[in-house]
C-alpha cells in the first residue's frame, strides 16, 4: 500500500493506484518508445544508401540523450509544480519526489503512479527532437546534432510541454500558460509536431541545401523500410494518442478510434492527390499520408466525433501532399519534409479543432465554430499553434546558428559526397557483395583482443 502524500492528503487518505489504468499507461509508454525506432526506419529508408545509418543514428542517440536529461531536470521543467506558466520549476529534479506519488493534473488526481506518467511523457520528449532530424538528412555533424538535442530539448521542448500539457497541481496553480487558456491539444499537435516542424524549418535554413539539391535526384534507397517504419509509427501512435487519456477508459477508446479512421483516410487523401496530379499512387505517398493523418489527429483525437475524424484525415492527407512541394518553391532543403508533414499537419489538426471540437465527444471542454461555440476556441487554437511555432523557430535558429559558428554543424562537401555514414560512424549500412567489399581484419599489431598465446582471438 502506498502511503499518502501531502499532495493528495486533502482528497484521499490512502491513495491507491488503478491497476488497469497503470497497466495501460505503462504499455502506452512502451508503444510510444517504439515510435522512435519506427521513425528512424521511416527516415532511414528515404535517404540514400550512403547516409542511411546516420539518419537512423540521429534518432537512436536522441533516445539516449533525452532519457538522461528527463530524469535529471527535464520532467521537472515540464511538469514541476513550483514554477509558473512558462516552466514547471524544480521540485521534481532527479525524479526523487515522484517514486511513490500519484499525479495530479488539472486539480484532479489520477490513479496512476507519477513515475508511470513521467515515463510516458519521456517518450514524447524523445520523439519530438528525433522528428527534426529529417530536415537535415545527409549533412549534419553528429556531435553538432547531439549538442542541438541537448539545447533544444532543454530550452524548447521541456518548457513548451509545460505550456501545453501541464494543467497545474492540486489547485490548478502553476499550469502552463496555454493550458490555462483552454487550448485543446490532447496528445501534442502543438508541443510535438508544430514544435518539431518549426525547428526543422530553422535547421534546414541554418545548414543550407545539400550539394546538388534540388537539381539531382535524392531517391529513397529502401521504400520497404519506409513502409515498415510508417507501420511501426502507426502502431505506436495508439499509445501516443489513446495513452494520453492516462487511463483505460472511454476517452482512450475514442482517441483510439479517431486515430485509426483519420490515419486511414489520410492515406487515401494523399494517394488521391498523387493519382490526380502525378498519375500514380505511390508507396512513399501511402506511408507519408499515414504519418500526416497521425500528426493531424494527435491534438484532436479526444475532442472529435469519429465522422469528423474522417474529414480531418482526408483534409490532412490532401493538404500535406500538396505542402511537401513548398520547399521547392521557397528553396529550403527540408530533406524528408518535416515542415510539409509535421508543421503543416500539426497546424491543420490544431485549427480543425476550432471548427469541429464538440462536447458531444464527452471530453472536449468547449465547442468549435460549427458546434455553436463561436470563434473563441479557434482563436485559442491559433494562438497556441503560432506561439509555439514562433518560439521554436527562433530558438532553433539561434541554437543551430551558434552550434554552426562554434563546433560546426555541417560536414564538408567532400565528406557529403563520399557519405556521412563512413565519416561519422565508420560503417556502411549494407554489405551485399559476396566478397564483403574486400573487408579484412587488421594485422596482429592492431588487434586488441588476444588469446593467451598472443594470437588474435
Amino acid at each position: 500500500m502506498v502511503s499518502a502524500t501531502s499532495l493528495l492528503a486533502a482528497t484521499t487518505a490512502e491513495p491507491t493506484f488503478d491497476t488497469g489504468d497503470t497497466a495501460w499507461v505503462l504499455a502506452s509508454a512502451a508503444l510510444v518508445l517504439l515510435m522512435t525506432p519506427g521513425l528512424a526506419f521511416f527516415y532511414g529508408g528515404m535517404v540514400r544508401v550512403k547516409s542511411a545509418l546516420n539518419m537512423i543514428m540521429m534518432s537512436f542517440v536522441t533516445i539516449g540523450i533525452i532519457s538522461v536529461l528527463w530524469v535529471l531536470y527535464g520532467y521537472s521543467v515540464a511538469f514541476g509544480n513550483n514554477g509558473n506558466g512558462f516552466w514547471g520549476g524544480t521540485d521534481f529534479l532527479g525524479l526523487g519526489e515522484l517514486v511513490n506519488d500519484p499525479i495530479t493534473l488539472n486539480g484532479a488526481p489520477y490513479a496512476i503512479p507519477g513515475l508511470a506518467f513521467a515515463m510516458f511523457q519521456l517518450m514524447f520528449a524523445i520523439i519530438t527532437p528525433a522528428l527534426i532530424s529529417g530536415a537535415i538528412a545527409d549533412r549534419a555533424k553528429f556531435l553538432g546534432w547531439g549538442v542541438f538535442v541537448v539545447l533544444w530539448g532543454s530550452l524548447v521542448y521541456f518548457p513548451v510541454a509545460h505550456w501545453v500539457f501541464d494543467f497545474g497541481g492540486a489547485t490548478a496553480d502553476g499550469a502552463g500558460w496555454l493550458a490555462a487558456r483552454g487550448v485543446m491539444d490532447f496528445a501534442g499537435g502543438t508541443a510535438v509536431h508544430i514544435n518539431a516542424g518549426a525547428a526543422g524549418l530553422a535547421l534546414a535554413i541554418v545548414l543550407g541545401r545539400r550539394k546538388g539539391w534540388p537539381a539531382s535526384p535524392f531517391k529513397p534507397h529502401n521504400l520497404p523500410l519506409v513502409l515498415l517504419g510508417a507501420g511501426l509509427l502507426w502502431f505506436g501512435w495508439f499509445g501516443f494518442n489513446a495513452g494520453s487519456a492516462l487511463g483505460a477508459n472511454g476517452v482512450a477508446a475514442l482517441a483510439f478510434t479517431n486515430t485509426q479512421v483519420a490515419t486511414a483516410t489520410a492515406v487515401l487523401g494523399w494517394l488521391l492527390v498523387e493519382k490526380l496530379r502525378d498519375g500514380h499512387a505511390t508507396s512513399l505517398g501511402a506511408a507519408s499520408g499515414a504519418v500526416a493523418g497521425l500528426v493531424a489527429i494527435t491534438p484532436a483525437c479526444a475532442f472529435l466525433v469519429p465522422w469528423s475524424a474522417v474529414v480531418l484525415g482526408l483534409l490532412a492527407g490532401a493538404v500535406c501532399a500538396l505542402a511537401v512541394g513548398l520547399k521547392f518553391r521557397f528553396g529550403f532543403d527540408d530533406s524528408l519534409d518535416v515542415v510539409g508533414v509535421h508543421l503543416v499537419g500539426g497546424i491543420v489538426g490544431c485549427l480543425f479543432l476550432g471548427f469541429f471540437a464538440t462536447q458531444r465527444s464527452g471530453y472536449a471542454t468547449a465547442d468549435g465554430l460549427f458546434y455553436g461555440g463561436g470563434w473563441h476556441q479557434l482563436g485559442v487554437q491559433a494562438l497556441s499553434a503560432f506561439s509555439v511555432l514562433g518560439y521554436s523557430l527562433v530558438l532553433a535558429f539561434v541554437i543551430g546558428f551558434a552550434i554552426n559558428k562554434t563546433i560546426g554543424f555541417r560536414i564538408s562537401e567532400e565528406d557529403e559526397e563520399s557519405g556521412i555514414d563512413l565519416l561519422e560512424h565508420a560503417e556502411t549500412g549494407y554489405d551485399l557483395t559476396p566478397t564483403g567489399s574486400g573487408a579484412f581484419r587488421p594485422g596482429p599489431a592492431h588487434v586488441t583482443t588476444k588469446t593467451d598465446e598472443g594470437v588474435p582471438a
Binding site: P217, K219, R277, D278, T282, G325
Partner: protein
C-alpha cells in the same frame, strides 16, 4: 577465339541462357549492368517531385567461343533476346589472344 558480349533486357536472360545451352555453349559470365541507348531512361516520382532516371537496369552476358561458332552464337543471342521494342540491347564481338582453364592449365580452344 572471340569474346561475345551481349547487353540485354534483364527479363530476357532466362531465354538467352536456355537458347545458348540448347546450342551447346558450355558456360557464360552474367553480370548486372546499367546504362542507356536510344531508349533513354524513365521518370520516377517521389512525393510529387519528378526525377528522370536515365540509367536503366540491364544484364551483361559474356561468352567465349571458337571462331567457327561466332556467327551462329551471335545469331542465337540476338534471336532469343529480341522483343522488337526499343531498349533490346546490343551484342558485339572482340578478338582474344588466349584462354587458360585455371584448374588444368589448358590453353586455347581446349580451355573453352
Amino acid at each position: 577465339m572471340k569474346l561475345i558480349t551481349a547487353v540485354i533486357k534483364p527479363h530476357k536472360l532466362d531465354e538467352v541462357k536456355a537458347a545458348l545451352e540448347a546450342f551447346g555453349v558450355q558456360g557464360m559470365t552474367v553480370s548486372e549492368a546499367s546504362g542507356y541507348g536510344r531508349q533513354r531512361g524513365h521518370t520516377e516520382v517521389y512525393r510529387g517531385a519528378e526525377y528522370t532516371v536515365d540509367l536503366v537496369p540491364k544484364v551483361r552476358v559474356e561468352i567465349i567461343v571458337d571462331d567457327t561458332d561466332v556467327v551462329d552464337v551471335v545469331d542465337v543471342v540476338v534471336k532469343s533476346a529480341q522483343t522488337g521494342r526499343i531498349g533490346d540491347g546490343k551484342v558485339w564481338t572482340t578478338p582474344i589472344d588466349d584462354v587458360v582453364r585455371v584448374r588444368t592449365g589448358e590453353h586455347g580452344a581446349d580451355a573453352i
